[in-house]
Subunit: 350 residues, 2 copies
């Protein structure tokens, strides 16, 4: 390398640990720090320019002062991190060369210095003219893989099964429903706005969809769409929707526990799940999972889902916020359902 340039490195930092639902003011977009655009010799690091950040519900867990989860909390005063896509600028790691596009856990900042030994789930991305780069955070990234692994490995789908998906228009849910349709299932989704319900029915191929905010009683809503019961519930929300689903499962139904957006925000004085007793006489199986346990099928996932997409059998909807300044709002928006489809932040043009 010749002359090394030093540039400002804008960051999103966590101000304090968060109880309950995060707000924009829990984060700060911080200017003034600089970074050398260089990977130091002997460091085994590589320096990337960040292109896209993924906004994911699990990140709320890292904003709490809770150390018992599978990921450690963020550190107040320091930049937060999450899945993203970046272009390698300089490298002291022979696996990553300048110009490569990588996905993995990167900082919420303009440039990051990464080291592959830090368990960042780094992966070189094979560019494909037919597929938008940002899809590697959604359809072909953690969200899509969560849908694929959870539906195929946990739900045991069979042709003709009745499938219910909550948060069905979200980053994970939209693919679950489409995979279920490809399996020959009857699929109903719930979402939190009229616009999302229309997208589910008109763009994502769901057989039916409903706005849970307009339902006085979720049990009644599910009985309307599943008069004979539910074989598979892909649960992205927990809480009262899970409780209503438990009442409407068929004998030997399967529930994939993927996320509990509603539950995680509840205080300890809140209600819990009351209908778990249904699992006994209906012989239900409830199973939690993490996509990271299924990485052995990631190549099969990429191959299949890329093919489905290129053949026009599936679509994917993204909600892209432009620029790091909008990143806190984008992340916070997940918890009020502001986003439509997979929420991504574009940090820089490719």
């Amino acid at each position: 390398m010749g002359e090394v340039s030093v540039v400002e490195n804008k960051k999103v930092i966590l101000k304090n640990y968060v109880d309950g639902i995060p707000t924009e003011t829990d984060m700060e977009v911080k200017l003034g720090e600089t970074i050398e655009l260089k990977a130091p010799k002997g460091s085994s690091c590589f320096l990337v320019k960040n292109l896209y950040l993924s906004c994911d519900p699990y990140m709320r867990g890292r904003m709490r002062d809770f150390h018992g989860s599978y990921l450690p909390p963020f550190v107040p005063g320091q930049r937060i991190e999450g899945f993203g896509l970046a272009r390698v600028i300089d490298s002291d790691d022979t696996n990553y060369k300048p110009g490569d596009i990588v996905s993995g856990i990167i900082g919420w900042e303009e440039y990051s210095l990464l080291r592959s030994s830090d368990n960042l789930q780094l992966r070189n991305i094979q560019l494909d003219d037919d597929i938008p780069l940002s899809y590697h955070l959604g359809l072909l990234g953690m969200a899509g893989f969560t849908a694929y692994a959870g539906f195929n490995e946990i739900c045991c789908p069979k042709k003709g099964d009745s499938v219910f998906v909550s948060a069905a228009c979200g980053a994970v849910g939209q693919l679950v429903g489409q995979l279920a349709k490809l399996h020959g299932c009857y699929v109903v989704g719930s979402a939190g706005s009229k616009q999302k319900v229309e997208i589910l029915k008109n763009e994502l191929g769901y057989d039916e969809a409903f706005n849970y905010k307009e339902e006085a009683d979720l049990d009644t809503a599910l009985k309307r769409y599943f008069p004979e019961g539910i074989d598979i519930y892909f649960d992205n929300v927990g809480g009262s929707m899970l409780d209503a689903a438990l009442l409407n499962m068929k004998v030997r139904g399967r529930i994939a526990l993927c996320g509990m957006v509603s539950l995680q925000s509840l205080s300890t004085s809140s209600q819990g799940i009351k209908n778990l007793y249904s699992a006994i006489y209906k012989r239900l199986r409830l199973e939690g999972f993490l996509q990271s346990d299924y990485l052995h099928i990631f190549p099969q996932f990429l191959e299949n889902v890329k093919r489905y997409y290129k053949e026009g059998k599936i679509v994917y909807i993204e909600d892209i916020s432009e620029g790091l300044d909008l990143a806190p709002a984008a992340l916070v928006g997940l918890f009020s359902g502001k986003n439509i489809g997979k929420q991504v932040v574009r940090v820089a043009k490719e």
Copy 2:
């Protein structure tokens, strides 16, 4: 048959549907009705003298005015029924001959007229001098089979696993713990009295046991006995014990949902299960089951458990009430934990 005798047939009837926990006054021991000790020609029925009745927690479900379960409710004003053992007196069914001992669903009365087409789960009992007849309601009956099927088919036990059993001294729990020990597991049980805790440790071979009523905090209690977490929780109670166990499961732990004595009695305003979110990041599997789904392994169960018993590898503890007059108290006692071991009512000498 020659002369037919007509005798009085004492019965236990349900007076009214029950909300919450049943009491003795919800039932009545009724005298005055008579029965002919004869199976009418052409009826395909057979008449039995009832010997033993099984008191089981699931019977509470049949005392409620709730028609959505896998068994219909009892009918107020009529005699209740449950698993029992009886001797055939007269028969119009060639499968059942006078003198045979049968198990199945019989009336809570001195004599019952049964028909095998009524789905009474009838079975001829092979008498065995080394095994008390009443064990065919517990160790070798539905309770024992529930333990066997649930532990082997749902819990996936491996040598060295850490196993927790609630209601561990009960009809099901006492066998679960002993089976777990035979699998080479570390086994801890909870029960509701000091006496039961002593029995668990000194007679049933549990490695450790505790009285949940003496614990200020169940989470703390479980952390004491499982500092590295629980692989298998065989849940006989639901409620706050299930909630505490969820916090203490190891990654990929398994929870067999067998009964929820505590939950079933809760009103709709009560607390639910709050820690189900643990199932996601710990990838837990919770599965409900009914022994009746596993009848294909009943012969294997009988053979194995009889052999374990004869070899002195397992024991079984019964609590026998003498006479139909004490049957309501015996049934009600289940819900306060009065019984020690499998609760049985002896209606008549063999």
